[in-house]
């Protein structure tokens, strides 16, 4: 079965700088995914667009060159996903960030297995709800 790996705000920030204390850990995960893709194992890495906004990831900015080059797919906040994200936030409360609610909505909307790389396992587990995502704490 295919797997979608999602990055949260902290994972994106960790990816952005080699000096970030969690950089090597996030790179390890992306290296594994890259090797699997080279072996034609169906694995996709995605970033919800609102996570990208929160982390400041501007694809036009050369400072984000590494992240841009790793084949990380934007997961858009379209009408359907926005409705689910709003439902998640209405249900769990506004302490769940918009970005985390968006991530949860993406996780709930795919058929594949889902892994989330995050520093906030509790909120992400709650937001992912029925998707029962595999959570990797960084």
């Amino acid at each position: 079965m295919s797997r979608l790996v999602l990055l949260d705000n902290e994972a994106v920030r960790a990816l952005s700088s080699a000096r970030h204390p969690k950089h090597r850990k996030v790179i390890s995960h992306l290296q594994v995914i890259t090797t699997r893709r080279k072996r034609s194992r169906s694995t996709t890495v995605g970033v919800p667009t609102s996570v990208r906004v929160e982390a400041g990831w501007d694809r036009r900015n050369q400072a984000w060159a590494l992240a841009n080059r790793l084949g990380i797919t934007d997961m858009a906040l379209d009408q359907t996903v926005a409705d689910v994200a709003a439902e998640i936030r209405n249900g769990l409360g506004t302490h769940i960030s918009v970005a985390d609610a968006h991530l949860g909505a993406v996780a709930q909307g795919v058929d594949s297995e889902v892994t989330v790389i995050t520093n906030d396992p509790e909120d992400i587990t709650a937001a992912a709800g029925s998707a029962r995502a595999t959570i990797v704490r960084i």
């Binding site: 797997r3 790996v5 080699a18 950089h23 090597r24 850990k25 790179i27 390890s28 995960h29 992306l30 290296q31 594994v32 995914i33 890259t34 090797t35 699997r36 893709r37 080279k38 034609s40 694809r59 060159a65 590494l66 841009n68 080059r69 790793l70 084949g71 892994t115 595999t134 990797v136």
Partner: protein
């Protein structure tokens, strides 16, 4: 950064940019496909339904190959500039276990030890290879 690395980085950015835009336009091109591959592709599409068209099957495979290869080159470029961030084989085994939610993700020490052993005979082993081997060892030990 050396000149070669600058050239590679620029090429990577070009490839990334091209892969990120839509596929609204297309051009007929002449590629010499081996006959057996062409026939296998036809059967895969017409009978097995693996893709709506042979073009879709070929372009998806090409895109996946390019994205994976570009990411691999990007990581190697990053490691060349930042040698300290290159993960060890043990790190990769732990990451593989974590991504899959494997029980051994909680046993980093076992995976690092397995990596140290397997690399002596398989220097090209991947994190997944180590995870598989460690799992097999664990099951053999439990049997």
């Amino acid at each position: 950064m050396q000149r070669d690395q600058k050239v590679i980085a620029a090429a990577l950015d070009q490839v990334t940019e091209l892969l990120s835009v839509g596929e609204d336009t297309a051009t007929n091109t002449s590629i010499r496909f081996p006959d057996n591959l062409r026939e296998a592709t036809r059967i895969a599409v017409d009978v097995l339904g693996l893709a709506p068209t042979t073009t879709a099957l070929a372009t998806t495979a090409l895109r996946n190959t390019l994205e994976a290869a570009a990411a691999e080159v990007a990581l190697e470029l990053h490691y060349a500039a930042n040698p300290d961030v290159r993960p060890t084989l043990g790190d990769l085994a732990v990451a593989a276990a974590e991504i899959d939610g494997h029980d051994l993700a909680e046993s980093a020490e076992i995976l690092h030890r397995a990596a140290a052993e397997i690399v002596q005979t398989r220097p090209d082993a991947t994190g997944d290879d180590v995870l598989l081997w460690a799992e097999a060892q664990q099951r053999a030990g439990a049997a």
